[in-house]
């Protein structure tokens, strides 16, 4: 491409960047707008600048943490925050062990029914959660664990997509390595934890990120399965603000900012792993 660039190319280039910048602005504006509003000193200030567009429609007059104070002190937002963390982290941990073991079985063993079983796992990851939410409520109710954290964690641990990810990764680990350890007398659990796990950091990070995000974003299930105030998670708490405090926009902005900052803070530095994870589930087979 060393040819002299004509006017046509220049116009196309301009059009290319203009379109991209338009989409970037469209994607980021709502986030930046809510971020900037969360630092306003009082609710009245949010509404004051709306009707007449000026710089202060987008940027606060005075930087203030009032909204955050109100969010944590008056609305005790630390509780749903803590609940969401507990639920997500426990699901990530159990999800790693249980899906990892299943991935190990599918990647390295030949056994009767392995295709049918794998088909069931794949099917389970294709169905959207909403499809099962209502009957799941009855199922979990039958175990008597509604209104507990277990109800939020247990049904979300086994995940066909994560099993699939682990299987893909473990398949590339040479059989000979596993066999020699196995022949040396290590049990399968030891082979898994001491041999496979240290070799599989990238896939463990991808899988954990995916489970974390899935639990962090969960809404319909916690909405119905954990209505108790002490179990409320972040998304449910935010959805309640929308109904309750129609004028307390500052609080909502502060809450959404925190609820966005946590996954973004985790995803941006690890985006390589996350993208690897979700794209390899979309590419293979």
């Amino acid at each position: 491409m060393i040819t002299k660039r004509g006017t046509k190319e220049k116009i196309l280039d301009l059009l290319y960047y203009a379109t991209l910048i338009f989409f970037v602005c469209f994607a980021l504006f709502p986030i930046l707008w809510s971020l900037s509003n969360s630092f306003r000193s009082e609710n009245a200030e949010i509404f004051k600048h709306i009707s007449k567009l000026s710089l202060h429609t987008f940027i606060p007059e005075k930087f203030s943490l009032n909204s955050y104070r109100s969010l944590f002190v008056d609305n005790q937002f630390y509780r749903p925050l803590l609940n969401s963390w507990i639920v997500a982290v426990l699901t990530v941990f159990f999800g790693f062990v249980i899906n990892g073991l299943a991935g190990f079985a599918f990647a390295k063993f030949k056994f009767k029914g392995n295709n049918v079983l794998f088909g069931i796992y794949l099917f389970s990851f294709m169905i959207p959660f909403e499809m099962i939410a209502i009957p799941l409520y009855k199922t979990v109710g039958a175990f008597g664990i509604l209104e507990t954290r277990t109800a939020l964690i247990l049904p979300m641990i086994a995940n066909g997509m994560i099993v699939f990810l682990y299987r893909q990764f473990f398949q590339d680990i040479p059989d000979a390595l596993i066999e020699s350890a196995y022949i040396d007398g290590a049990g399968l659990l030891r082979v898994f934890f001491q041999l496979l796990v240290p070799l599989s950091k990238p896939v463990i990070i991808s899988a954990s990120l995916m489970i974390f995000i899935q639990q962090w974003d969960a809404f319909l299930w916690p909405l119905v399965a954990a209505t108790n105030k002490s179990l409320k998670v972040v998304q449910v708490a935010i959805s309640e603000f929308t109904g309750e405090f129609t004028v307390q926009w500052g609080t909502i902005f502060a809450a959404t900012t925190i609820a966005i900052a946590i996954p973004i803070g985790i995803l941006i530095p690890l985006q390589k792993f996350y993208i690897q994870g979700i794209s390899s589930t979309g590419l293979k087979e």
Binding site: T19, L28, W33, F111, Y137, I178
Partner: protein, 312 residues
């Protein structure tokens, strides 16, 4: 699949026992109880109903009969179909367009990618909450911006003619970058030497797109289209959070009706019947999509490109 191919003896050695089943047991148990069983339960439940004195009895197709004669549900079916017919193609076309644009090696492209990934980290609740405030007819910035452009204020979610469109915009805002991620990964997997052959032949952009890029991208596209359809058929959050299905039922999706039947009116059998209808719709749509996207062994052009591109 890379790596070392397993020797023929190895798998037989590892297979001669019950151990793989033990490894699978915990996950299989959880999937069976919390994923497979609820599906069967709701299909079965849609054929049952609560009779006199709360006794559950077989109802045959009565629940479905009730659903298909209920104007609320018929409206919901229409809303769900309309919502999907607009949202899915719109999201896919925009996602593909952005993926193609970001698949070039030009200046700032990496920065643009990272910036466009950001909405991926934002879920439907947050997206709905923020957009709800932006589109507030009296105090949101959307009408302020429109006003500055000389356009009269719009009612957005409070109008039965605009509400569904607003929800479509929110879903696109949240969804496009997610699907773009998959398509971009698919594009990057295409061997670029294939294109070089085409460049020499002097193909136009659109010939290249339709006879080369899209066929090569088929796996990713099928995955994205099918997953996107499933998510949108079961769309629930905007109706729950923003409109309550209104105004005048204009955003009353089927999943929201299923939620209401179960958790507002405790009529679970009606709710199961609605979910079963949704499941059937899903299977029909996905069946159709697979049929339309089935591999037609590639067009002649694609094969020619493949041969030339890779033959070098």
């Amino acid at each position: 699949m890379g790596g070392i191919k397993p020797g023929s003896g190895s798998r037989r050695f590892l297979s001669r026992n019950y151990k793989p089943y033990l490894l699978l047991l915990p996950s299989f148990g959880l999937i069976a109880v919390f994923k497979v069983y609820p599906i069967l339960y709701s299909v079965a439940g849609s054929f049952l109903m609560r009779g006199a004195r709360g006794v559950i009895k077989f109802a045959g197709l009565k629940n479905f009969q009730m659903i298909f004669t209920d104007p609320t549900i018929l409206n919901s079916i229409w809303v769900t179909i309309k919502f999907n017919l607009i949202t899915v193609p719109l999201q896919i076309v925009l996602a593909l367009m952005l993926a193609l644009m970001l698949n070039r090696r030009v200046r700032f492209v990496q920065t643009m990618r990272t910036l466009l990934y950001i909405p991926v980290a934002i879920n439907m609740i947050i997206a709905s909450t923020i957009w709800n405030m932006m589109l507030n007819p009296s105090s949101g910035p959307a009408n302020a911006i429109l006003g500055a452009l000389g356009i009269p204020p719009q009612p957005f979610l409070t109008s039965s003619r605009q509400a569904l469109w607003v929800i479509i915009v929110i879903c696109c805002w949240k969804g496009v970058s997610y699907w773009m991620l998959f398509l971009l990964a698919g594009l990057q997997n295409i061997n670029s030497s294939i294109y070089e052959a085409g460049r020499i032949d002097g193909t136009t952009f659109f010939t290249e797109l339709f006879s080369l890029t899209i066929p090569m991208l088929k796996n990713s596209l099928v995955f994205v289209i099918v997953s996107d359809t499933m998510i949108n058929l079961f769309m629930f959050i905007p109706a729950y959070l923003l409109t309550g299905g209104g105004p005048e039922g204009s955003t009353d999706t089927l999943m929201y009706e299923a939620y209401r039947a179960a958790f507002k009116f405790s009529n679970y059998n009606r709710s199961y019947a609605i979910v079963t209808v949704l499941m059937l719709m899903t299977f029909i749509v996905i069946g159709l999509q697979f049929f339309m996207l089935r591999d037609t062994k590639g067009s002649g052009l694609k094969r020619r490109f493949l041969k030339r591109g890779l033959g070098k």
